[in-house]
């Protein structure tokens, strides 16, 4: 497999009637396995649009995007779900857990999509909940979990997809400092121990020090890139 992400002049332009809005302009980045990357910037800076393109949810207007050696730009939109299924997991600010399913059932749903069923899936769901420190909350419904716990279930669900690339959009946005710290610790652990590439789009300056690399966006461009000293 090639590098998780390589972009070359990645650009996204939205047409709103006669007006064209450039949301992302000429982004060149290379991300590595085992890296935790923070994507910072004010609202409207293009973070979400860039994340959507990296996640194969939005197609770029121009430029190139390679995901683990696969050229994504120019692919038919119908091919993108299969790419996401193979390489990418998502974590969202709002958790997006099915309220009617327990913690383990939310994870088993993703396992089912991957073809894992039965006792094996149930076991795997329990293991993933252990990884995120929720072994004793297997049969809890989301309404009985705290915000931090819900986000950890969402991380476990992302892990169930077994994707090498994890894209997180404001994963600590709804959490207090301690829970936010716990979530980042889990993400860092995944990156280091399992060599996954984790990209986090965030406003949360409290977690800035957690990242191996910080990219700051402004007006659709990456204006600064800072690497944490080894």
């Amino acid at each position: 497999m090639g590098k998780p992400i390589i972009t070359n002049s990645l650009t996204k332009v939205y047409s709103e009637g006669r007006v064209e809005v450039t949301a992302v302009s000429g982004v060149d980045i290379e991300l590595n396995e085992g890296e935790v990357v923070g994507l910072f910037g004010p609202s409207g800076s293009g973070k979400t649009t860039l994340l959507c393109m990296l996640g194969c949810i939005l197609s770029p207007t121009s430029g190139s995007l390679k995901l683990y050696g696969n050229e994504i730009t120019g692919l038919d939109e119908k091919a993108l779900p299969a790419i996401r299924k193979k390489y990418i997991s998502f974590i969202f600010q709002g958790f997006n857990l099915f309220p009617a399913l327990t913690a383990s059932e939310n994870i088993m749903l993703v396992l089912k999509l991957k073809g894992e069923t039965g006792m094996a899936a149930e076991q795997r769901a329990r293991e993933l909940l252990s990884v995120v420190g929720l072994a004793e909350r297997t049969n809890f419904l989301p309404r009985d979990l705290s915000g931090g716990q819900k986000q950890r279930v969402a991380i476990a669900r992302a892990l169930a997809a077994d994707s090498p690339l994890i894209l997180a959009d404001e994963p600590t946005g709804n959490l207090d400092h301690e829970n936010g710290r716990n979530v980042m610790e889990i993400l860092i652990k995944l990156a280091v121990e399992q060599q996954r590439c984790v990209v986090v789009a965030t406003h949360d300056n409290r977690i800035e020090n957690a990242f191996d690399r910080v990219l700051v966006m402004e007006d659709g461009k990456i204006v600064t890139e800072t690497r944490r000293p080894a």
Partner: protein, 380 residues
Amino acid sequence: MLLFSMFYVALRILLYDKVRSVITLLGVVFAVGLIFAQIGIFLGLMETSSVIIDHTPGDIWITSKNNKNFDFSQPFPEYLSGQVRSEEGILWVEKLIVSWALIKQKEGGTEQVEIVGFNPDTGIGGPWDMKAGAAGVLKNGNFAIVDESAMKRLGNIQVGDYRDILFRRLQIVGISQGVKSFTTAPIIFTSYRLAQGLIAWLGPDNTVFVVAKIAPGYEIDRVIESLKKRLKGVDVYTKEEFSMKTRRYWAIETGVGFSFLLTIIISFLIGMLIVGQTIYNSTMEHIKEFGTLKALGASDSEIYRIIFSQALINALAGYLASLVVTMLSVKIYQATDMVMVVNWKVNILVLALTLVMCLSASFVSIRKIKSVDPAILFRG
């Protein structure tokens, strides 16, 4: 959890919001129950309309030309029955008189009744289920048999009672069961000769129906073809054809069938709206979760399975509950002397309609899922 599947997920979603699910279920039960009732009552009415034809032995019915149904028939010359008897392939022939008459009520006033005159020696065309008395006693006197269902309109009648029918005093010698008229007019059985004498306008040498039986080894179509060529001024049918003709008259020409069909369609649409709204609301409430599944690589069809499963669960649960209610209703209808037909064919038909109703209702949600863009998940 060996059975974890999209069906299970759908079930959990429905059970999570119990109040909404119960309301939806009640809606489905109402709609399906109404469909059951309409189909059952309609079929019951159709059965009633041709009950005497269906219970009369014989293969061929001969009626006056352009006769529309059993209850409103014109007379034709009796001698034609002789021509039928002489036809090759005919085993036996019987004549029937069916006509309207007036019976005098005990308290005064009159009630319209339908007279069926038949041959008491053979019993063909007469009652098939006697509660009291015997059909054979009708001959040799001014005797009549009244059906049990007539007592609602005529009051309590016992064997041995006397009643005036068309100004002639008849003694009741039997009570039959299971003979109801579509028109709800009481049915009175008499001997053929008595009926001919009672109903003066028919004429002394006329009959209303001729019923014939095919001899073994003969093809009914060929015999009928031959009779059609020989007999003038009458129509010749198989028993099934005349039964259907009678039913079709009441169903189509009176508009009764259309009325039932309209109610069935309205019930179907109500059911669709109720289920469709519930599933759509549920889909919208879970749109971000479904979007997340899409973002994680789930295909649209995998998510559709959850939606369709919700519809299927509503259909099956609603159908089963409605079936129970309907079976109980059949008893109530029977107590009011109405016939409601609920058999395996009706059950299958209503199940099919219920499934179509609920699955079609889910298509609005399917369209919504199809159009969900995972990009909406990013900061709502």
